[in-house]
């Protein structure tokens, strides 16, 4: 589903490479975890996947279902089935959450040549999915993420993900800022979305999220390269020994 080949990238005018040859293949149904110390390039990778234009890819390619994504606009990537759950979901004053959800869903459907969802059908879906994530109707009426707590913002991201039903979910530090109860709700939301047709890339600094969202494959990203790949036990090992063993390796 996702193939990242020898990806090199830097930020805008700064020539310093942040990604220095990332290779990664994710098949449908798989959950991959990308772990790594701060500054290893984890968030950069997620932004590049989503198409943020602050970054420049200098070498390599990203294939999504066999087609290169590099020339696609962020909204085209989303309509093709890519979803990034942001580490810091941004506040958008003046745009009611409900309006935003409906606009996004219908824009994607339209881009795919599907009919727009009627308001009652949309409301039914939102209500069901919001209830599963403990999101109240009151929250949905508020402007997107404005005045939401850290946990509410992350739950709102997962709600968007479950409504948009992407093929590939990329989650950037979805556990940051969550207490243990909120973490459980979020993880359950994510686990409900696991399916043989859907792949997930979970980016995290800590192992604790992976107790709840159990990965098939764990990668260690350090200094812009994947330096080790293993099974879920690799996460436990990292938790025990830290990243010290890997920080030097990619140099």
């Amino acid at each position: 589903m996702l193939e990242i080949k020898n990806l090199h990238a830097h930020v805008g005018d700064d020539e310093t490479e942040i990604l220095r040859g990332v290779n990664l293949t994710v098949k449908p149904g798989e959950v991959h975890a990308i772990m790594g110390p701060n500054g290893s390039g984890k968030s950069t990778l997620s932004y590049i996947l989503a198409g943020k234009d602050d970054y420049e890819v200098t070498e390599g390619d990203i294939l999504f279902n066999g087609e290169s994504m590099l020339e696609m606009e962020p909204d085209e990537r989303a309509a093709a089935g890519l979803f990034l759950a942001f580490q810091y979901p941004i506040e958008i004053p003046g745009v009611a959450t409900m309006t935003f959800l409906k606009t996004a869903l219908n824009a994607q459907r339209k881009a795919r040549g599907e009919d727009e969802l009627s308001t009652p059908a949309f409301m039914k879906q939102v209500k069901e999915k919001a209830a599963e994530l403990n999101i109240t109707m009151d929250m949905l009426k508020r402007p997107l993420n404005v005045g939401f707590s850290g946990g509410e913002k992350k739950r709102s991201e997962i709600l968007q993900m479950s409504l948009l039903e992407p093929k590939l979910c990329v989650m950037d530090e979805t556990d940051s800022g969550l207490d243990i109860d909120a973490l459980k709700i979020v993880a359950e939301g994510v686990n409900r979305l696991r399916s043989p047709d859907r792949a997930m890339v979970v980016i995290t600094h800590y192992q604790r999220l992976l107790d709840h969202i159990v990965p098939d494959v764990v990668h260690v990203l350090s200094r812009g390269k994947i330096v080790k790949t293993g099974g879920k036990e690799l996460a436990l090992e990292l938790e025990k020994n830290g990243y010290a063993d890997y920080v030097g390796q990619a140099a």
């Binding site: 909204d75 941004i90 996004a104």
Partner: protein
């Protein structure tokens, strides 16, 4: 001597002078009114049309814009006015009373005068009132001191063709909004004036819709609000269209009164909305919002003078502008706090969203404070659409153009939602959406 000599008149100014001479007979008014009109015209004639070297009109050069002065519009028949009215869409199916002013004259038969009378609101024809007016025109043509030097108001006083006097009785709460809708069924310049009085403890929502603004002739409207003690006024005004349009809002606020007002210049070729607000009684508050939405080569000017004459009043001035293509926005705001107006609280903010490289916004906020125990502040920002917000929306599948419009709508909605009344908020947001061509 620093005296300005004006030997050369523009052709528009010459035409205005002969227009006034020619129209003197037909303009309504008692002798007292005629005298005021003549005084006003000669005061205007001394100054001429305001231009860029007149500080108050620095960014809106009416003299350069108005190449020639149109003839005064003739009165239209009821049938003509009716079809002009049917052609305009203002507040959709919002339940409201209507007062119709077509070609500058009150159309009594098309207005809900009887129904309003039942609510405790009297509506009369300005021209009838002017015909009977005694000394100083019974105050019908009064201009507050802060607006006394404005040439466009002088011109309005001299040439006013008609309008309405709307009086909301003491303690009356009007159950529906009252819309004053201005239409035009034939070409010609329109000089209109409405006086809206709210008696003590009265409550009313007034909507002013300027739908008469055709390219064929200029418009000059004065709306004179007199707000009694403990009264509450909600006001929404929309100016659209292609003509040179100057509208002046005069507002005198009594004690313990509350005002919420929003004024749109939406897609205006050359519009100036100028508000002169005077606090005459203590413990009142006014929220004054203004919105500019222009594109192509359009021009919108919001000018505001707030005069805190008495202590203990609060004013909030908030202006938002969305400017695209080569369009220009102007905001001039002045808060004056008189020597005895202690405990005044005035906060003024202007924000512009520039959607293109060539869009421009001129901001001139001013504070003139003569009292020492006050809280006043002003701020001004101009910026582009936030790239991070845009990316977030696009990452959710919303195409760039649609995402931008959503953010523009959000930017404006913050001010519109302050109007609180759901029907009005949704009608105004609908008009914004139409202008932006955004689907709901």
């Amino acid at each position: 001597m620093n005296m300005e000599t004006r030997s050369l008149k523009t052709s528009a100014e010459t035409e205005l002078a002969s227009l006034f001479d020619g129209a003197r007979e037909q303009l309504a008014g008692s002798d007292a009114v005629i005298k005021l009109r003549e005084q006003a015209f000669s005061a205007f004639d001394e100054r001429g049309l305001p231009h860029r070297r007149v500080e108050e009109y620095k960014y809106s050069d009416v003299r350069a814009k108005l190449k020639s002065a149109s003839k005064l519009v003739a009165a239209g028949s009821n049938a003509e006015a009716k079809s002009a009215l049917e052609a305009v869409e203002t507040y959709g199916d919002l339940e409201r009373y209507r007062i119709v002013i077509n070609n500058g004259r009150l159309m009594a038969e098309l207005s809900d005068i009887e129904a309003l009378k039942g609510e405790g609101v009297t509506v009369s024809n300005l021209n009838a009132a002017l015909a009977d007016a005694q000394d100083e025109a019974d105050g019908l043509l009064n201009v507050p001191s802060i607006a006394a030097a404005d040439p466009m108001i002088m011109l309005n006083t001299a040439l006013v063709l008609g309008g309405a006097v709307v009086s909301v009785g003491e303690g009356t709460e009007v159950s529906r909004p009252i819309e004053i809708v201005y239409t035009a069924s034939t070409a010609g310049a329109r000089y209109t004036r409405c006086r809206i009085e709210l008696g003590k403890r009265a409550q009313a929502t007034i909507l002013e819709s300027f739908e008469d603004n055709t390219a064929e002739a200029e418009g000059n409207a004065v709306s004179d609000f007199v707000i009694g003690d403990e009264a509450r006024l909600t006001l929404a005004r929309v100016v659209t269209g292609e003509a040179v349009h100057v509208s002046s809002v005069l507002m005198n606020i009594g004690g313990s009164a509350e005002v919420k007002a929003i004024g749109f210049n939406m897609g205006t070729d050359f519009a100036r909305t100028q508000s002169f607000v005077t606090f005459s009684g203590e413990h009142s508050n006014a929220s004054l919002y203004g919105i500019t939405m222009v594109r192509e080569k359009q021009h919108s000017d919001h000018t505001l003078v707030v005069d805190h004459k008495v202590p203990n009043c609060e004013s909030r001035e908030r202006f938002k502008a969305v400017i695209d293509d080569f369009a220009e926005g102007v905001f001039q705001g002045k808060i004056i706090v008189r020597p005895h107006a202690q405990k005044t609280d005035g906060q003024m903010m202007t924000q512009a969203l520039l959607l293109s490289e060539d869009a421009s916004m001129s901001n001139k906020p001013e504070l003139e404070i003569f009292a020492d125990d006050v809280q006043c502040a002003h701020g001004a920002t101009s910026g582009q659409i936030d790239e991070d917000l845009l990316f977030y929306l696009r990452a959710r599948g919303i195409p760039e153009a649609q995402a931008k419009m959503l953010l523009v709508l959000a930017f404006l909605a913050e001010a519109v939602e302050e109007m609180e009344d759901e029907g009005i908020v949704s009608a105004l947001e609908g008009r914004i959406r139409n202008w932006l061509s955004v689907e709901e």
